[in-house]
Structures are given as structure tokens and as C-alpha cells.
């Protein structure tokens, strides 16, 4: 199974992801894009900022693709995650899967993004009107999570 995995600090090109999973034996290609949403838990999000443990993140992404290809008969998998600032409306993650039929392509793509969010060592810091917060860390208990608000004004909406 051909594969492509990347951590990038520039906008994700969806057409490039789809091209990476192109395969004459594929009857279906599924593309998932996760994009920065302007609202989260009632906060007005101005941008997200991602940090990765890049070497391990790529290793875990490859491992997930191997696991997916054991569960479903896939042709190709491509996974890319963007780090640094990701403005509202832009993609932070893209996953493309091709397979003989749509069922396994949809299922594998869904499973891959769910697992990526559970185990791949990447973190997002949400910048919202009034402060910043590391997403996920606040589940660890009191003392972590919401940090002191910043004085800086929010970035203009795009």
C-alpha cells in the first residue's frame, strides 16, 4: 500500500492529497479536512496554533495507516498535519484514503482521524477573544487549562 505522511507549516493542498492516493484499482477516494472553527465551547476562536513532536508524530501516523490497511482493503493512504498558526477556515489536518469501494474508504478515513486525535503527539492552543487555552490539558484537572488572558487584540477575521 502506497503512503504519504507529512508535518507541514504551510497551507494544506487538498488536491495534492487526493493525487497522492490516486490509483487505477481504486473505485473510491475519501478526503477528510479538519479546519479551524470560529467558535468553540462558546468562545470566539481567532486562530489555532499547533505544536508537534514531529518524528514521533510521523511514526504514529505510519503505524495508524498500517493498522487501517490490516482492517480494510485499502489502496493508498495520505495523512498531513499542519503546525504553527492555522487561521479560521483553513485546514489543520488532511487525510485521504483510496480503496476499491466507498465503504472501506469512508470507514478507514473516519477511523484514522479518530485515532490520530487520540494518540498522535500533536497539540493545539486555542487563541480566542480574551485569552488562550491548550486544548486537552484542561481535562487533567485544576491548575491547568485556561491561562491568563492576553492584551493582544484578535486577528481580523478573514
Amino acid at each position: 500500500m502506497a503512503e504519504r505522511f507529512e508535518i507541514v507549516d504551510a497551507p494544506i493542498d487538498p488536491a495534492g492529497l487526493l493525487a497522492a492516493v490516486g490509483d487505477p484499482a481504486a473505485g473510491a477516494s475519501v478526503l477528510f479536512l479538519g479546519t479551524t472553527r470560529s467558535e468553540n465551547s462558546g468562545r470566539r476562536v481567532t486562530r489555532l496554533e499547533y505544536e508537534a513532536f514531529a518524528g514521533m508524530a510521523l511514526r504514529e501516523m505510519r503505524q495508524l495507516a498500517r493498522q487501517a490497511s490490516r482492517r480494510w482493503p485499502l489502496r493508498r493512504v495520505a495523512m498531513v498535519h499542519r503546525i504553527g498558526v492555522v487561521p479560521v477556515g483553513e485546514a489543520s489536518v488532511g487525510i485521504a484514503v483510496s480503496a476499491g469501494h466507498r465503504g472501506e474508504a469512508f470507514d478507514a478515513c473516519h477511523w484514522l482521524i479518530d485515532r490520530l486525535k487520540e494518540i498522535v503527539p500533536i497539540w493545539k492552543k486555542e487563541h480566542y477573544l480574551g485569552g488562550t487555552v491548550w486544548i486537552g490539558a484542561q481535562q487533567g484537572g485544576p491548575g491547568d487549562g485556561l491561562q491568563a488572558p492576553r492584551k493582544r487584540r484578535a486577528a481580523r477575521s478573514r
Binding site: F53, K117, W123, K124
Partner: protein
């Protein structure tokens, strides 16, 4: 023996990107974390995972000379 510590995200903001530390033979990943929490109690509130040489390990994992030990707050990619 010496191990390299690395911290990420909220832990990095509190502890810095990392450091080289001398530990006793037999030190486990979990006991190393416990010693960090004793010196920096504020970080103890975070639920963490530990990776040694870029692979997730259990707290009982015994460290070896030259290991890179990474401490993660809960991941939140995607």
C-alpha cells in the same frame, strides 16, 4: 546515567523545552515524572503520557543511559 528530558505544549511552557539529567540506574519513566512533580508541584495536575525514544511506554518502563524521555499533556491534534 544520563537521560534527555523533553516537554511539550503546556508542559513546555511551564518546564522549558527540556534538559539533560543524571538519574540512578533502575529509574523508571514514572518515577522520573514523580521526581519532577516533587520539584514543580504545579505540573502534577496534568494527566500525562510518556514516550521513550519516540515510543509510548508504561510508567514502569525502566530507563537506559542515553534515552530521550518525552512527557506529553493529553494530545489534541486534528
Amino acid at each position: 546515567m544520563r537521560v534527555r528530558l523533553r516537554f511539550f505544549a503546556s508542559l513546555r511552557e511551564r518546564l522549558g523545552p527540556g534538559e539533560v539529567r543524571t538519574v540512578r540506574p533502575g529509574t523508571t519513566a514514572g518515577s522520573l515524572w514523580d521526581s519532577l512533580v516533587r520539584s514543580q508541584p504545579a505540573v502534577g495536575a496534568v494527566c500525562i503520557r510518556i514516550a521513550v525514544n519516540e515510543r509510548y511506554v508504561d510508567p514502569e518502563h525502566e530507563l537506559a543511559d542515553g534515552d530521550e524521555v518525552a512527557f506529553f499533556p493529553p494530545v489534541s491534534g486534528g
